[in-house]
């Protein structure tokens, strides 16, 4: 399950934020009559469609897994836990519909209405992500229900959805999605430029994506700081994991690196009192350690170490990315142009990977940091997991399938890229740069799900009712 979720969360940034970057490109194209930007937007919309389709398949499997792996989570708490998912359903539908409209609308709608038809895709992405994060937040800080004899007897839907962890978790996740999408897209074009493809098209691609990411990065560090303080106040056990703190005390040092062995902190660099200052703006701030967690639900040393190191990795990655954003900002102020030095491009080319690492480690912090609970204080993971069948067998199958899907996705995207590059060489050779900003004739011949069928639009009876 963790594995599937880890895969699925990688797709979120694309459904959500990639479409936004696409719209920025589209806006630039329409507003400033920028052909390169328009072409980028159009190609990005197709990539988005492919990724969205993969996301839909992976989402289907997730829904199955919910029941097959966590029957008791759903069985006992579906009444509350299911609500955010039902809401997510609407947004998923909306996003699928408008992504089709948007892709279909190239050429068929006037530029401005077409641009507007992309806006609901972005909004629905925000809504959908927020709903799923609401479900996650609810597992961290459950509320909005009354339990009697282990059964949920009353539910307050709004309190379930807008639970106490909702705001900080969802804003943090939304921004993370924009970062990952921005840096990943930028790194693709930076890699292309490093290989010598330095025409304007690549530069615009890099520029748009990197600008989005660089603007969001400082905001993310700010909300990350806020979120951590919320965790300090509301999720004390998780905060103890994060800070690698066995015993409650004040003047808590911030430990960088380090592991927990036999309940004691080993290795790692300690910055005196920094954790206390960060959490409560004063060295006297008391932080609850793991000793406040009842022994029977205290996380094991390995779990604590995992959470702590993931948190460190996330923060380190974020500051690396912040550094890159600053570099970009300073260079831009000086020269009003994209820095094109090899070292800059190399850093941008790796930034995508760094951003994904930050996303995944952040996810580990919130998920593993909750253990041994599935729903904090209500349901233990060992009680929620299925007892039917051999868990390892199904896990193996899931891993195999996802590896296959993952590789195929990358492969398809690479083929699309190769196709487009071939097309560029051809146009340049022919000296025929298309000037009207409309669809390049051969650009249509890549079929994407949700897109218009390429050779001839085929009226399908099923489309109308789906």
């Amino acid at each position: 399950m963790a594995f599937t979720l880890g895969f699925h969360i990688m797709l979120v940034p694309f459904a959500l934020a990639f479409t936004m970057i696409m719209l920025v490109a589209n806006y630039r194209g329409v507003r400033h009559n920028d052909r390169d930007a328009l072409l980028l937007a159009q190609r990005w919309s197709k990539v988005a469609a492919v990724l969205f389709a993969v996301g839909a398949v992976s989402g289907t499997v997730l829904t199955f897994e919910m029941g097959l792996l966590w029957p008791r989570l759903m069985g006992a708490f579906g009444a509350a836990y299911g609500i955010p998912f039902a809401v997510e359903g609407i947004f998923f539908f909306l996003e699928a519909i408008f992504i089709s409209i948007y892709i279909y609308g190239w050429e068929r709608l006037p530029p401005w209405p077409h641009l507007w038809s992309g806006v609901p895709v972005v909004l629905a992405g925000v809504g959908g992500t927020a709903s799923v994060v609401a479900a996650n937040g609810w597992m961290n800080l459950p509320g909005g229900m009354t339990i009697r004899d282990g059964r949920v007897v009353d539910v307050r839907p709004l309190a379930v959805f807008f639970n106490r962890a909702f705001w900080y978790e969802s804003v943090h996740m939304l921004l993370a999605a924009y970062l990952v999408a921005g840096f990943v897209v930028a790194s693709v074009y930076a890699a292309g430029m490093l290989r010598g493809r330095r025409e304007r098209y690549h530069r615009v691609g890099l520029l748009i994506a990197l600008t989005v990411a660089a603007v969001v990065m400082p905001l993310q560090i700010f909300t990350g700081d806020l979120a951590t303080r919320q965790v300090f106040h509301k999720e004390q056990a998780k905060f103890a994991d994060i800070e690698l703190l066995p015993r409650t005390s004040d003047h808590v040092p911030e430990t960088l690196g380090g592991v927990m062995v036999d309940g004691r902190v080993r290795y790692g660099v300690k910055l005196p009192a920094v954790a206390s200052v960060l959490a409560g703006f004063s060295a006297d701030t008391r932080i609850h350690g793991l000793d406040t967690v009842p022994p029977d639900v205290r996380p094991t040393d390995r779990l604590v170490t995992t959470v702590h190191l993931s948190f460190d990795v996330m923060v380190a990655a974020s500051f690396l990315l912040l550094g890159l954003s600053l570099w970009y900002a300073v260079a831009w102020r000086r020269r009003h142009d994209l820095p094109t030095g090899r070292w800059f491009l190399r850093s941008v080319a790796t930034s995508g990977l760094v951003a994904v690492v930050a996303l995944e480690s952040g996810w580990i912090v919130t998920e593993v940091g909750r253990q041994p609970w599935t729903i904090v204080g209500v349901l233990l993971t060992r009680d929620a997991v299925t007892t039917s069948g051999n868990l390892w067998w199904s896990f193996g199958a899931v891993v195999a399938v996802y590896t296959a899907i993952g590789t195929s996705t990358v492969w398809v995207l690479r083929r699309m890229g190769a196709h487009w590059r071939g097309r560029e060489r051809a146009t340049i050779k022919a000296g025929d740069e298309r000037g009207d900003g409309t669809t390049d004739a051969t650009d249509v011949d890549i079929e994407v799900p949700y897109g218009p069928p390429a050779p001839r639009p085929v009226p399908s009876p099923k489309v109308t009712v789906r």
């Binding site: 389709a53 839909a56 398949v57 989402g59 289907t60 499997v61 829904t63 199955f64 897994e65 919910m66 029941g67 097959l68 029957p71 759903m74 069985g75 006992a76 708490f77 579906g78 009444a79 299911g82 609500i83 998912f85 039902a86 359903g89 609407i90 998923f92 539908f93 909306l94 699928a96 408008f98 409209i101 279909y104 068929r108 949920v152 007897v153 539910v155 839907p157 299925t386 007892t387 039917s388 069948g389 199958a397 399938v401 296959a404 899907i405 195929s408 492969w411 398809v412 079929e447 799900p449 218009p452 069928p453 001839r456 639009p457 085929v458 009226p459 399908s460 099923k462 009712v465 789906r466």
Partner: protein, 331 residues
């Protein structure tokens, strides 16, 4: 409200069996279309008609699962802890199907194409069989209310086997009928005949399986059998009538009318099952009311649904209009 949510859930099942069914059936014909050369043209038609919607229809499946686990969590738990084998197979099938179909188009070499096609086609048969078997397990009361029922007999039993086979046959039938219309639209008489013959074959097989099913129900799920003769009777009769009408009049009717008849026949059978099963969700031991979530949850499901209708309805219309216009532009 409980009944309303149950009805909504059932509508989801109905839509999935008709729309998703046609999808699966297309895979069945793909599988049986013969060798590379012989099967090329039918496969092409299947490819073209399915491309725009290849997994959109599975949205209904997700819809059903979400409504089930939110609205009737107890039943959901019982089902997933008992029938986990067919459910895993079905999930695997859906993934393989989707990716096989999507990727075979970009695959260049014949060997690659063959692997992808095989994945697509085989899973198109396995998945509906599993869903049919699950339905059989539910109908014949082999899922205990507290879950954890027998992992094998819950879906390897007379009712499930008939249910699974019937599901495959029905899917094949629906797909063939839909594809007749597609072939007609393309003025391809040869292919139209090809699918017409197969639609007839499938309808005969499905009818025969339905008869076997009735016999199996009599022995295996007595209450369901009785209810099908009682309140469910009009639906059963309607299904038989629509099926027979389609069989007899297939030459004279337009493909559209044929399609309506086929959908009616299938939908009536599914509705018959629903009516006969009501008010029980599992066999004869867990009613809809007993499995339901607290009232506010049910209300919020309905609110969410209303929201979905208000938001998605107009946007779907917009998409449809655009597609119509696009088609006119290129015609």
């Amino acid at each position: 409200v409980t009944d309303a949510v149950a009805a909504v859930l059932f509508v989801g099942v109905l839509l999935y069996s008709v729309l998703g069914g046609a999808d699966f059936g297309a895979g069945f014909w793909d599988l049986t279309a013969g060798g590379v050369e012989r099967g090329r043209r039918p496969r092409q038609l299947i490819d073209r008609t399915m491309a725009p919607v290849w997994e959109a229809n599975h949205v209904w499946l997700i819809f059903c699962l979400v409504v089930l686990w939110t609205g009737f969590p107890a039943a959901f738990q019982a089902i997933t802890t008992t029938l986990y084998v067919p459910l895993w197979l079905a999930a695997l099938g859906i993934v393989l199907r989707g990716s096989g179909f999507a990727f075979r188009k970009v695959a260049v070499r014949t060997a690659e194409q063959r692997v992808n096609s095989a994945a697509f086609a085989v899973s198109s048969v396995v998945t509906p069989f599993c869903f049919g078997a699950v339905a059989g397990g539910l109908a014949s009361g082999r899922v205990p209310a507290e879950g954890g029922g027998d992992a094998l007999t819950s879906w390897l039993n007379p009712t499930s086997l008939v249910g699974g086979s019937l599901a495959v046959a029905v899917c094949a039938y629906l797909a063939a009928v839909f594809l007749i219309a597609e072939a007609r639209m393309r003025h391809d008489n040869e292919l139209e005949g090809w699918f017409r013959r197969r639609a007839l074959g499938a309808s005969v097989v499905a009818g025969a399986l339905a008869l076997v099913g009735i016999a199996a129900l009599q022995a295996d799920a007595r209450r369901l059998f009785d209810r099908l003769r009682g309140p469910g009777l009009p639906l059963v009769v309607g299904s038989v009538a629509a099926g027979l009408a389609a069989l007899i009049l297939h030459r004279r009717l337009s493909p559209q009318a044929l399609r309506v008849l086929a959908v009616t026949a299938v939908a009536a059978v599914v509705c018959g099952w629903g009516v006969a099963q009501y008010p029980y969700l599992l066999g004869t031991h867990l009613t809809v009311g007993e499995a339901a979530s607290p009232h506010p949850t049910l209300v919020s499901i309905m609110v969410v649904l209303a929201g979905a209708l208000v938001l998605c309805g107009p946007s779907l219309v917009l998409l449809y209009l655009l597609q119509e216009r696009g088609r006119l532009d290129e015609a």
